[in-house]
């Protein structure tokens, strides 16, 4: 029977350190305890989730389905420019001498 050999991938581990007020540290530790995790295990999970969310938020603009549908409909039949917008654009052109 073939035995699967455990492959240890070489991962460079780096240290993350930060200074926080004692009360905040206690709060972190309490939260980790409630989750049944060590502080560093908990921090890694929480930070990784926050990072994913942050990156996703940047790539995607959160919008309700109904509003995204309305957006797409507006793109397919775009509203006419408002007078205010056209006048503003004319002033912009004039001010810059374009």
């Amino acid at each position: 029977m073939a035995t699967r050999k455990k492959v240890n991938k070489q991962v460079n581990l780096e240290r993350v350190a930060m200074r926080v007020p004692a009360a905040i540290k206690e709060k972190f530790e309490r939260a980790a305890y409630l989750k049944g995790e060590t502080f560093s295990g908990w921090a890694k999970t929480v930070l990784a989730e926050a990072a994913d969310r942050q990156i996703r938020d940047h790539e995607f603009f959160e919008m309700a389905i109904a509003d995204r549908l309305s957006f797409m409909e507006a793109v397919l039949s775009p509203p006419k420019p408002t007078r205010v917008a056209v006048d503003a654009a004319k002033r912009y052109k004039k001010v810059l001498g374009l």
């Binding site: 603009f61 919008m63 309700a64 995204r68 957006f71 775009p78 917008a85 810059l96």
Partner: protein
């Protein structure tokens, strides 16, 4: 505060040239963005453009920031989704921030808010000639200065019915504005 102002074309924020610390619009978050975040976000997250004048080119009269973003489409009905390509995302442009220096907010001659918004539309339209963007999206920040939603209403932005504080303007509408004013053919 300057009495005569000849506006320059907007330019990308240059921290060696523009005086960020002197900028105040009355909404802390917007001042802080310009002072602490704008440079760090450039160029990978967002680009910040500033309005300056010939009389004092270091002084920031107002600014806005732009970035590329997307709307999810993978959860939408096939018939409409397919009109926007096959990738399940709809590319758009985010007008992340727009602010005018407090001293110049009331100036009826300068109208810096509209100047910045039109400039943002113009830049967005130009960029969209190379990289697709179907419209401009704005998440409205209701700050110490009140609610700017009516400002966007006047320019034709459409309010989201279900997504809080969000408005958008289709690119074709921006294009119409720029065409009718003669900024583009």
């Amino acid at each position: 505060m300057l009495t005569t102002i000849t506006l320059n074309r907007t330019e990308q924020l240059d921290v060696d040239k523009h005086n960020r610390a002197g900028f105040s619009c009355g909404v802390k978050e917007l001042d802080k963005f310009l002072q602490q975040k704008a440079r760090k976000e450039s160029p990978s997250l967002s680009l910040t453009f500033v309005a300056t004048c010939a009389e004092d080119p270091a002084q920031i009269l107002g600014y806005f920031s732009l970035s590329a973003t997307n709307l999810r489409a993978d959860d939408l009905p096939d018939d409409i989704r397919k009109k926007f390509g096959q990738y399940g995302v709809v590319p758009a442009t985010l007008l992340g921030r727009l602010a005018v220096a407090e001293n110049y907010q009331r100036s009826k001659d300068l109208r810096l808010g509209e100047f910045l918004l039109i400039d943002a539309m113009f830049r967005t339209w130009n960029a969209a000639q190379s990289v697709a963007s179907f419209g401009m999206l704005v998440r409205i920040l209701k700050g110490d200065k009140g609610d700017p939603t009516p400002f966007y209403d006047r320019f034709g932005f459409i309010r989201c019915a279900q997504t809080a504080d969000s408005v958008y303007l289709p690119m074709k509408t921006s294009e119409g504005i720029l065409q009718e004013s003669g900024l583009i053919p």
